[in-house]
Symmetry: C3
């Protein structure tokens, strides 16, 4: 599995996938910069008058509803449909869908419209989407629970998609294959945007590799590993950690993944 | 007073208040990150279809009109009303209200609608709101003047609120109690967002402490002190300063406040 | 020419021009911070109800269409007209105008409306605007070509403006005077926002110097030089590079420009 993750990273660096993002304004800059560090090419394009023309250039489409404006919502629908038509992989990040009804409605509308390649959320969001009770608070997940894997598998089957749920242990499944990822550091929750960046990385990976499950696992594992490397380099300082996170991801080697990756296929 | 400020900081760290932000896109990422550094939980939620459902989860609501879109304006009104109904403290940052008529109108509309806990602006904005002549230039205040304290006290009484005016000397008053805060560094004006972050911190503080005056003073003093610590660690380099500002706020101790705080109650 | 660039920098520091920005949300924070580092005063003001009142305070207007919302488009038109009326210099950054029809339409509408002082794009965008075939991909230019200078000169003449085209070699021309700028580092393309920041710097420069050609060259050259200084200080680490970029621009001296500037007038 680690070799597969490393292959995905090398594929991104070789192919420079163009990732079309419609994403929240809190972390839009972080998403662009992390994509560049990963070897991908970010392009934020979110006007309804622009997206249908732009999706054909994209290797992947990333939709994150963290501060979903009316204009973003209007654009995300034709963008998703065009992506489905052209088989451009789509990654959805259903931020806070477990807390706010409109977020759940928007997410379900996007899931129903088009073939989504990856749903990337925190465990609380994924459980909410899967119809499991989940205790969420704002944008963060408080609880993972024993039924988290089951919820992920069920959701993946329901939408014939890959599900990536981030938490203390991350879960990535396509309904048939499931892995648990133990990489990460508490420092990733001391900055905003770690989850958004995972989604962006997963989109880049899906844009350069055919296996959406491996792509999602790569996005999750590589961010977790970069976080560990950054935490070692920065100590308990979130400002410095953020700087080192970009540095670590940019300089990550195949060997870093082979030695540092902690993934269990179940 | 310094012990009170330190208590507020410890209360935020203990309670992790959820701060619902409707804020400008220039510094939205900075506001989220500084709230995390402070021990609070940021949640940017600014769609009219979302805010009434989300405010009940919030410990405080922060409204900053720096790039106030029509959608943000539409959402800020029901959000404020819901907050008033549920006694969720509201902090308003009336960016550039002294220069642009629409900003003044929007600010007054929000102040008239609902019980605002804290108005946080620079001295020029506060004086403009209080009806005093003020020389402002763009988003920055050029002049403080001897009538600044009077303007703050009058504005606080008019709206039965706390007023925090930032400048070379910061002023925080609830109309009865007034303090002057001397912490800060010129480096804070060499980066964007220091004022916005003060407002966000004040909201977090108000979300975990009943005394809005102490909360506002804590937001102002802690940002000023973190700035001083960051300036000492970085020298005259704004990029590095910004990184160290987050680091300093995250690692600030009770002792840092007791030794470094410079506050005068008048 | 280097002395002229250094003069422009000193003029910005002496006059603190207020740069009114209507710019994309990916790099809006970077643009504000780089303007502060340059000695200018940024003010993001993008509501249609605000701009006509605000432009009279501005030394320059910077319009970047990278994530141009309907509200930004509505505001950019009266802002440009007011700027033309008051002879406030306007800088346009036509992001991705070569790829997306609406971007081209919006750019041409702005160019036709009002007297634009500087058009700042990458070489692909400039060639597309000038009607030359260009191979562009997303927001990045892939190819420069031998006809790049010709395209810049023709575009400058057509709109009676200054054209700055960034690429491996940067080109700045007012139709009569043309210079090539060789400063820069590949690290500038490993972060988002370098191009946007060049446009913001050019606006600040145009806001404090009468010669738009020298102002545009200064924006381009100073960003390239700051990038070189940052790359030397950071090594191949984009997170650290970004921090040092702001530091380098803030501390740049006249001597840095005289020694490090690499400009050829042709």
């Amino acid at each position: 599995m680690l070799a597969k993750i490393a292959d995905v990273m090398e594929s991104v660096r070789a192919k420079t996938p163009l990732v079309h993002c419609i994403t929240n304004y809190v972390t839009i800059n972080d998403c662009a910069n992390i994509l560049l560090c990963f070897g991908a090419s970010p392009a934020m394009c979110e006007a309804v008058a622009e997206v249908e023309e732009f999706v054909p250039f994209a290797s992947a489409l990333y939709i994150n509803i963290g501060t979903f404006s009316k204009e973003q919502e209007e654009a995300a629908i034709p963008a998703s449909l065009k992506a489905a038509e052209l088989k451009v992989p789509v990654v959805i990040d259903p931020v806070a869908c477990g807390v706010i009804s409109r977020r759940m409605q928007v997410t379900k509308k996007l899931l129903d419209l088009a073939g989504i390649t990856i749903i990337k959320g925190n465990t609380g969001e994924i459980k909410a989407l899967a119809g499991y009770g989940a205790k969420v608070r704002g944008v963060d997940s408080l609880e993972e629970g024993e039924d988290a894997v089951e919820a992920c598998v069920n959701l993946a089957k329901k939408y014939n998609t890959v599900v990536a749920a981030t938490g203390k242990t991350d879960i990535v499944t396509d309904g048939a294959r499931t892995c648990l990822i133990y990489n990460g550091t508490p420092m990733l929750s001391q900055i905003t945007g770690a989850g958004c960046m995972v989604g962006a990385l997963a989109a880049a990976a899906a844009g350069s590799s055919a296996d959406g499950w491996a792509a999602a696992a790569a996005g999750v594992a590589i961010m977790g590993l970069a976080g560990e490397m950054a935490a070692r380099a920065s100590g308990p300082y979130p400002g410095t950690f953020r700087v080192k996170l970009f540095d670590s991801l940019y300089t990550m080697t195949r060997e870093d993944i082979m030695k540092g990756g902690r993934i269990e296929c179940i």
